[in-house]
Amino acid sequence: MVEEKRLNLPLSAGDVAGLKAGDMVLLNGKIVTGRDRVHKFLVEKRPGKEDLPFDIAGTVLYHCGPVMKKEADGYQVIAAGPTTSMRVEMYEADVIQQYGLRGVMGKGGMGDKTLRALQESGCVYLQTIGGAAAYLADRIVKTIGSWKLEEFGTTEAMWIFEVKDFPAIVTMDSNGNSLHKEIEAASLLKFKELAHLK
């Protein structure tokens, strides 16, 4: 088995520089979620860091719209796998630069604009396992808070989670490497051969 690297959040520029595409990691500490609406809001309204309930600099923004259950003493995470990251490609570079994220996490990888932002800002893209929602929810030890819950609803709100040994793979690093690009280029060659295309 490949050895996983245990990462404690928030991350420093140095932590990120030590990560390369292909590394398996385990996240520990506080992360936040954000998907379509959070990204759109952050870029269009540009709320200041002080407007967010938690300083997201150095942490990981997880593309996830969890299933949450309201209990007497707050919300409980039921299921929390990743959503397709590519949908927020047009916003992510801005969000990384504006808020000083050190990681974004989701599934399926992201495009060239984000890849450049990862290099410029010292950030990595992490892929975790799509659909493994019960397994991943078990790595979230606590729901610390939320932001925009009333306005966006449970799926689209920003949740602040405390995670323990949350598994992910670095698939885009801060040196311009992307496993997604490599796989896509290789499969394109095979596709052209099978479809008899030049």
Partner: protein
């Protein structure tokens, strides 16, 4: 229809929290093909562990509990309108109880209805059956894999795709190449061929309800399904798109007659969490 309502809530629970045995078996054999320590092997191990935990703790396999799609076969004399009301009521109850993620969003206000019901939500298809039993099939179709599907109008020059099964083969490979890992492979691939866009889209999605082990009754299509499956797996996209031997678990093709001028092909992808189930009443 109170008891039927309970039955549909139970169907929701079964479909959201457990995978059909044929899909789980296919994922296990996919794992056995990967070499230990690879990202594909580790991803598939987590996927199988997740399936087990979800089933044991009755939690949704995936947080995206999807768009519910119902295929209802109705015996003569039963009211479709009453059935629809029962399905809507069961959907509200299931959303609360299991719970499911509320996924129905109003186009104008962007408001989530909060209970998985809305205009055309869930999707319900009725068909009369000569049998005396009511048969309700349910699929929970996630958004990620739904977004990864494609529709083609043949002939298509950029793919060199003519109006024949060879052209269809090229379309399906193209759809997978474009989807890469974004819709959570290994995929189940539904293909519909026919005269009109709406018809082939429905036909392609319906193919996803077929068991992976089921062989197409039409020889030519059975051969095509087998060929496309093995070629998809040559692409090397793999589990979650990070490389590997299995990119699809199955390919299912359905055909309708076409218009002389038209040849539409729809490719509907399901993620590895291919959630379907049946209630017979």
């Amino acid at each position: 229809m109170l008891k039927l309502l309970d039955g549909i809530v139970e169907l929701y629970k079964k479909v959201a929290t457990s995978l059909p045995p044929d899909v789980e078996e296919a994922l296990k054999s996919a794992l056995s093909l990967e070499s230990g320590g690879s990202t594909a092997a580790s991803s598939l191990s987590v996927i199988l562990e997740n399936i087990k935990r979800a089933r044991e703790t009755a939690r949704p396999i995936c947080q995206d509990t999807g768009v519910p799609v119902f295929y209802v076969k109705v015996p003569f004399g039963l009211s479709q309108n009453e059935l629809k009301q029962t399905i809507l009521e069961a959907t509200r109850e299931a959303t609360q109880k299991i719970p499911l993620r509320p996924n129905a969003v109003d186009i104008i206000t962007e408001k989530n209805s909060g209970d998985n019901t809305g205009e055309g939500f869930p999707i319900i298809y009725f068909e009369e059956t000569p049998s005396g039993s009511l048969i309700i099939d349910l699929m929970l179709k996630g958004g990620g894999c739904e977004n990864a599907g494609q529709t083609y109008k043949l002939p298509l020059e950029e793919l060199g795709a003519q109006r024949n099964l060879e052209g269809v083969r090229k379309c399906v490979l193209d759809a997978i190449q474009k989807a890469q890992g974004r819709g959570c492979p290994p995929y189940v691939v539904g293909v519909g061929i026919g005269a009109a866009k709406d018809q082939v889209a429905r036909l392609a999605k319906e193919q996803l309800m077929r068991k992976l082990t089921e062989v197409n009754k039409v020889d030519e299509l059975a051969q095509l399904e087998k060929l496309i499956l093995s070629e998809i797996n040559e692409l090397g996209i793999g589990t979650m798109g990070l490389g590997g031997r299995t990119t699809a678990l199955g390919v299912k093709v359905g055909v309708n007659h076409r218009h002389p001028a038209s040849y539409f092909v729809d490719v509907s992808l399901a993620c590895w969490a291919m959630r379907r189930g049946r209630l017979i009443w």
